[in-house]
């Protein structure tokens, strides 16, 4: 397999964002007819690398060569013409158009007969293109009515067809987490098809499931902290070693302010009993003590997000009860859960956590307006006082309490979200990836805040970007897999578990 020519080569590609170096002189080569597994931690630079590959962003430095020629790809449409395409996780097919219409969208010119599109010609081509990926669905089915598997296949077929249309030999397909939405059988089909496609194309495979990568790729490339760590032939790979390489260094004890970790109080704060949501997660029962930090871990689709969604009231469970300090909660209503004292730091603070166009004070005071009143009306001096107190307490770096939130940095925006919940009397806080997209300094601050919260007796459910962070922060860990709670382990200071033990449970 090695006697082949490289199709795609990135040389010393560097990309930095304000406050973070996403890629640091990364080299990446794809050879003809191979499947490359690309793995790395969150924040290792995989998504940045992918974005550069398909022209969504441009590198700051470095070279991008396709088939030996340097190229600059302006956008994904341009990349497709060069025979580089990506199957996006959320899909990029237009839902109301049919399979066939999506297949040829914006490239129908070849099917014109006397100015009109020839449905027959399109149908013939579509059938032959789709036979490659073994899709036998009716070509007129709107994409909205197809399964994720079919959509994925149609996208693959489209990319293959486009490369043929633009006469690009050996196209490069990037598959981002292709198996998360598939059933077991569909996964098998996918890899059978990929093996066939490999004869005329190269595939970059990105997946959480290490077995999948090891089992199906020819070569594995590992990124860590925006740098190349290593790469090797998949035949020689063993999962334990990959895990080691990915985590890289040994556990840094001080990173998560573990010295400030406290033993939770005895009093039970949250009790979840037989909570279930059909098709998403099976009945689950657990409890949190006062001041306890519990981490929920699991793959996408393990049901952990839905469990948190039910606790915060954003989703409605089918059965079960949630009680906070022995008071049963009304389910499926955020206003009820917020009133009961459950807070929520969402994963996407820009669209879910903040009123970006409003001031820091407005955001911080959102939940406590009723307490900032004098004579029945909101009192500006009290507002200011509370805002300043919270800015101080959470160390939000802002020019003033009346600065517009959109102008703060990511970390300070996140601290503003936390401040919002802190200023009201909450008992439980659900933190959904609290440090995502936040620079190192701000991460520190957020860890400090989390520790302070625990000391104040606030219980927390946390889902982190990295397993390391989970282990470092929590008192106890709940592991979910395929909608079930599979394990529960203590993460007390003395006995922090090893990441690779947990991976074994999750995957």
């Amino acid at each position: 397999m090695k006697a082949k020519k490289p199709v795609l080569e990135l040389r010393r590609v560097t990309k930095s964002y304000p406050g973070a170096l996403a890629l640091d002189a990364v080299n990446f080569t794809v050879w003809e007819s191979e499947i490359v597994g690309l793995i790395g931690e969150n924040g290792a630079g995989k998504s940045t690398l992918m974005k550069i590959l398909i022209g969504l962003i441009q590198p700051d430095a470095g070279q991008y060569e396709l088939r030996g020629n340097p190229v600059t790809l302006r956008d994904p449409a341009n990349a497709a013409r060069h025979g580089v395409g990506m199957v996006f996780q959320e899909g990029s097919l237009v839902p109301n158009l049919s399979i066939m219409e999506n297949l040829f969208l914006s490239h129908e010119i070849g099917f014109r007969r006397f100015g009109f599109l020839s449905r027959r010609a399109m149908r013939e081509t579509a059938t032959s293109v789709l036979s490659l990926v073994k899709v036998t669905s009716d070509l007129d089915t709107p994409i909205a009515d197809t399964t994720p598997a079919v959509r994925q296949m149609v996208e693959i077929a489209r990319l293959m067809w486009l490369s043929r249309l633009y006469r690009q030999e050996n196209p490069v397909l990037i598959l981002d987490e292709p198996t998360t939405v598939l059933t077991e059988g569909e996964r098998k089909t996918l890899f059978t098809i990929l093996t066939e496609i490999k004869r005329q194309a190269s595939i970059i495979l990105i997946s959480h499931r290490l077995q999948e990568i090891v089992g199906n790729s020819d070569r594995i490339v590992i990124l860590k902290d925006g740098r190349n760590v290593t790469e090797f032939e998949a035949e020689h790979a063993n999962i334990a070693e990959i895990e080691n390489r990915m985590v890289g260094h040994t556990f840094a004890a001080e990173r998560y302010r573990e010295n400030e970790q406290i033993e939770p109080m005895n009093e039970i704060a949250l009790e979840v009993r037989n909570l279930s949501k059909r098709g998403v997660f099976e009945p689950i029962t657990f409890s949190l003590r006062k001041g306890e930090i519990v981490s929920l871990v699991g793959l996408v689709g393990s049901g952990k997000e839905a469990v948190c969604g039910c606790i915060t009231g954003l989703e409605k469970p089918d059965s079960g009860t949630i009680s906070l300090h022995r008071k049963k909660l009304a389910l499926g209503s955020p206003s009820e859960t917020v009133r009961a004292g459950i807070g929520h730091i969402p994963i996407d603070r820009r669209s879910e956590g903040l009123a970006l166009g409003m001031t820091v004070a407005d955001n911080v005071n959102l939940l406590v307006l009723d307490k900032l009143k004098a004579a029945g009306l909101i009192n500006p001096p009290l507002e200011k006082k509370n805002a300043l107190r919270m800015i101080e307490e959470c160390r939000i770096k802002t020019p003033s309490f009346s600065a517009i939130c959109a102008n703060l940095s990511g970390g300070n925006q996140q601290k503003t979200v936390i401040a919002k919940w802190l200023s009201s009397k909450i008992q439980l806080l659900v933190l959904d990836h609290p440090t995502r997209g936040v620079d190192v300094g701000a991460k520190e601050e957020i860890y400090r805040l989390i520790r302070n919260l625990a000391r104040d007796g606030i219980s927390m459910i946390i889902m982190c970007d990295t397993l390391e962070e989970d282990i470092g922060l929590c008192n106890r860990m709940l592991v979910m897999k395929d909608g079930r709670l599979v394990s529960e382990m203590s993460c007390s200071l003395a006995r922090k578990p090893n990441p690779s033990d947990i991976i074994a449970l999750i995957v």
Binding site: D75, H208, V338, L366, I378
Partner: protein, 332 residues
Amino acid sequence: MAEIKEEEGPSITEKRITTHRKRERIPAIYFAITLLVVMVVLFTIGNRNFLSAYNVNTITSYSAILLVVGLGQMSTILIGGIDLSVGGLMSFVSVVLVIALKTIGAWAFPLCLSVGLMAGYINGTILTRIKIPSFIATLGTGGILTSLALLVSPLPVVVPASSYGLLDIVNGTLIGMPNLLLLTLVIFIFFYVILGFTTAGRNIYYTGSNIKMSWMSGIDIRRTRNFAFMLSGLGAAIAAMMQTCSQFGGDPTMGKVYILQSIAAVVVGGTALTGGTGGAVNTLIGALILGVMENGMNVVGVDAYFQQSILGIVIIVSVALTFDRSKTAMIK
């Protein structure tokens, strides 16, 4: 570590969203105030009588009614919606008021207020329960209200002389100030306080700024949206009553011009159509700008219909300047 947690791959919409630039924007209200001052200065230079008591009175009376309907309109724009039914509602209230004055006397006023609140409630309910975007829902209800107005009275009706006494609530004076202006002042303060200093009013801003966040933070977004539309109904009803009283008669087509003018007053004042920014003071400035503009154009002799065109242009320009394009990737 790693691949255990979901990492989001590149999203297609990302490119658009990340282009959102951080920059300090000068609040639109400063532009609005500057515009107002410049216009007053220019018109005063051009016409010595511009600041005469008579002319100032003309401008303020015009602006007063516009301000009242504009304040209501603003509430719906602040949540990111719009109320195109204010015109139909004003027409309807106008004829209902005259007819009710004949039959039930002073009770006509509370009746009309409740008509306004009811119409707003229905708009809000269509929005939140049937889930139709406000611009089309209110286009529909506005059409219904207009035809109801014509059904009640196809032609303008005059207030019978026997009821003139009741009209003093608008037409009279108190300690030398016309009631019309005092009433407007009261309503302005009402809106200013409600929006700025009550939880319900603040919730309108939060909802307009980020409705998903508001929902997730426990704000009852359904009630908030309903409330905003009720405020709009209230404003339109009061404005219609003021107009009807000061003209001693109702007109089933009276409201039509106010659809455009109320939106213009709101957006010229700097309240963005995207919601969440702006306020009562903005609309006050906006209403004054339109008042001065209308008056100035009349004095200069701009054709009344051409003024409509100018108003349309003013709306488009103001929206273009204030619309927050970072909020959505798709502008439809």
